[in-house]
Symmetry: C2
Subunit: 225 residues, 2 copies
DNA sequence: CTACTGGATATTGGATCCAATTTACAATAG
DNA sequence: CTATTGTAAATTGGATCCAATATCCAGTAG
């Protein structure tokens, strides 16, 4: 067959304009750059990306399927917002899945992965720019999960995180969550390094549920304005 | 204000053509009418519904986001297929969530809901048309879950079920799964009626994992052709 | 002054048109 | 006869156009 050596990038699987727009919008929503309830004008987005509205509509359809935006017929798409109850449920869900996932991961985790996680935990603890906390936090946890051999579980976790990342950010930045997170991360990491799967799972669950309580009471307090 | 009495249906939230097509395709995939790997031609679908390809493309984009179809640029969409490992993981995932969900549901379940579940269990046990087993099975379980007060959990369970329903059908119809399911349903129902949440959860988990083992070994045996 | 009507404007959703890519197959060279 | 090239048909993805709906605002009746 072919005896040609060259870096062949698979053009067939290059991201389509719709993919690019989808990712950009998702990121903007997850990072909180697009606020809850903000409406997304197809025309506006289309001209930002220099395309027609067609790929924008595809991106919006996919975002809606993910639950990140909500559309009303002929009225348009807005960034979905979650009630306190919904947020609390999402945290409970995360605690369930992430506990399970880390339990499986720790049983087979490599030293290399542990080192990575440790690096993220330290970067997180050292970081002073509050805008980067959320991302480092997510990387730390994800690293501890990634060896679990359960891609579907990880995908679901990732989608759930996308939906609440905006709120989590508030918890870290505005409620002293960062100090507690540092301590709890250390505990989780230590359990993982000791290959104590059940302990890592229990600590992860407690970490998530603790963040949930802190966030919810913060939101309730805020509500009284 | 207005003092007019008439049944006002909210036209604004009527399903769009794209919604209708999405539902129809999802149903066809879930029910196994569209086989694994079968390709979905936009043109063909569009003419079946007497619309242009635009709403079809929206439906396909949403189905892809759900993981029910897979698209390759310029090649088209095919019904997604799952490897044995992926199927096994989905069952494991279901066992985790559905166990949790029934545990919460049983704690607050109403007599009315229990009666409904009982009716479905009996209909399932009595049904001789194998084409209806899967649906009754799903209704029975869903009824036992629905009081759990965790809509997001239920939605995730539903999406996971959609992805494996085709394979589950094979398990029920082709592996004597039906006989065992009858017995196990009775056990789960009894635990629910006794308001024994932990027992109901344990039995549900075992029910799901048992079906998984049975299905996987069936698929592996089948592979040798 | 207030509440309603009617029309202008903006926006979405679908149809049609067009470009780019894949696929099938015939023609041709070795 | 086999492998390769070139071309036609089929298909997707994006652009443009159009119809339907929502929103806004001015005008008008009470």
């Amino acid at each position: 067959m072919m005896a040609l050596k060259l870096k062949a990038t698979n053009l067939g699987s290059m991201p389509s304009p719709a993919d690019v727009i989808f990712d950009a919008l998702r990121e903007a929503i997850v990072e909180g750059e697009l606020k809850d309830g903000e409406t997304l004008r197809q025309d506006h987005i289309a001209s930002m990306f220099n395309v027609s509205r067609i790929p924008v509509r595809e991106a919006l359809a996919r975002l809606e399927e993910q639950g990140l935006v909500t559309t009303q017929r002929h009225k348009g798409a807005v960034v979905s917002s979650l009630s306190h109850e919904e947020i609390a449920e999402m945290f409970e869900f995360r605690a369930l899945i992430e506990g399970e996932v880390i339990r499986h991961a720790v049983r087979v985790i490599s030293d290399r992965t542990l080192a990575e996680a440790k690096a993220f935990a330290e970067a997180f603890a050292a970081e002073t720019d509050s805008g980067k906390w959320a991302q480092l936090n997510r990387l730390f946890h994800y690293t501890l999960y990634k060896d679990c051999g359960r891609p579907y579980h990880l995908q679901i976790v990732s989608k759930a995180l996308d939906k609440i990342a905006r709120y989590l950010r508030a918890q870290l930045v505005l409620t002293h969550g960062i100090a507690r997170a540092r301590i709890e991360h250390e505990g989780i990491l230590k359990a993982a390094m000791a290959r104590d799967a059940d302990e890592a799972a229990a600590l992860t669950r407690a970490h998530i549920l603790g963040a949930s309580r802190s966030l919810i009471s913060f939101l309730q307090a805020q509500e009284k304005d």
